[in-house]
Symmetry: C2
Subunit: 150 residues, 2 copies
């Protein structure tokens, strides 16, 4: 697969990208939760049944981290990497063991930096979908993207 580096100047609002997929399983969900989000509904099936989630669900931060992995390894090949200043995130549905996640992204804003002529700000909207096409997470990330040298 060709992965020519993309600079700020190469991007247009409306450009779309689609990543490879990631298969989530119980072991991954519990391992992440043990390390970063040790709450019963992410660690134990029985506890999850008695929670708002109804059955074992991944930490939202796990979904976010998998989304980042997919973007970095098979998303837009930004010249200086995928470097975020921040953004907003929404978890629309739980992610579960057996889910196969994929990220669909779209450039929604492009703002050249006034103070730094070597870069611009790109807002990339990334929907993370499961195998049924349901959006489990939406992330609007503000990315710092290098400009082509003048």
């Amino acid at each position: 697969m060709s992965r020519n580096p993309l600079y700020f100047d190469d991007l247009q609002v409306g450009d779309t990208f689609q990543t490879a997929t990631h298969a989530l399983d119980t072991e991954q969900i519990k391992a992440f939760a043990q390390q970063f989000d040790p709450q019963p509904f992410h660690l134990d099936e029985a506890a999850a049944r008695d929670s708002m989630f109804g059955s074992l669900a991944a930490s939202g931060w796990h979904t976010a981290a998998i989304t980042m992995r997919l973007l970095v390894t098979s998303g837009p090949p930004l010249a200086n990497g995928i470097i975020g200043a921040g953004g907003d995130i929404e978890w629309k549905a739980p992610t579960r063991p057996g889910d196969v996640l994929q990220v669909h992204s779209e450039v929604v804003a492009l703002t050249p930096s006034r103070s730094r002529p070597d870069r611009g700000m790109v807002v990339l909207r990334s929907n993370t979908l499961n195998q049924r096409g349901e959006v489990v997470q939406t992330l609007n990330a503000k990315l710092m993207v290098a400009r082509r040298a003048a």
Copy 2:
């Protein structure tokens, strides 16, 4: 330490919480990056020197995950756990090997649910600070918090 469970009805705008600390090191930074954000500036000191970061820096998602761990293990003891619907996040400064992170949180909004009388939405602003008191991340999280039974 007493950790009486907190319900929506127990919280007030302006309530503050402070977590324990987490010491970040090179090994953790590289392990997280290898799994979720495999970019050179999170994996390799020499590559990081030639990047926007100037030296090895943790993935922002790693900072977010550590923030969640601190909130879950020593933040507000919410009755039903810390369950986020989403929020906005800003990475204000890189996190580095040797950083000791701590989270200072404040309740900034409380909204009873109209459709679900058993819960409310709490906006919790969490600043993640390093050992010099610099804010490395700000997270405004929308949390679903259970109400006391009427």
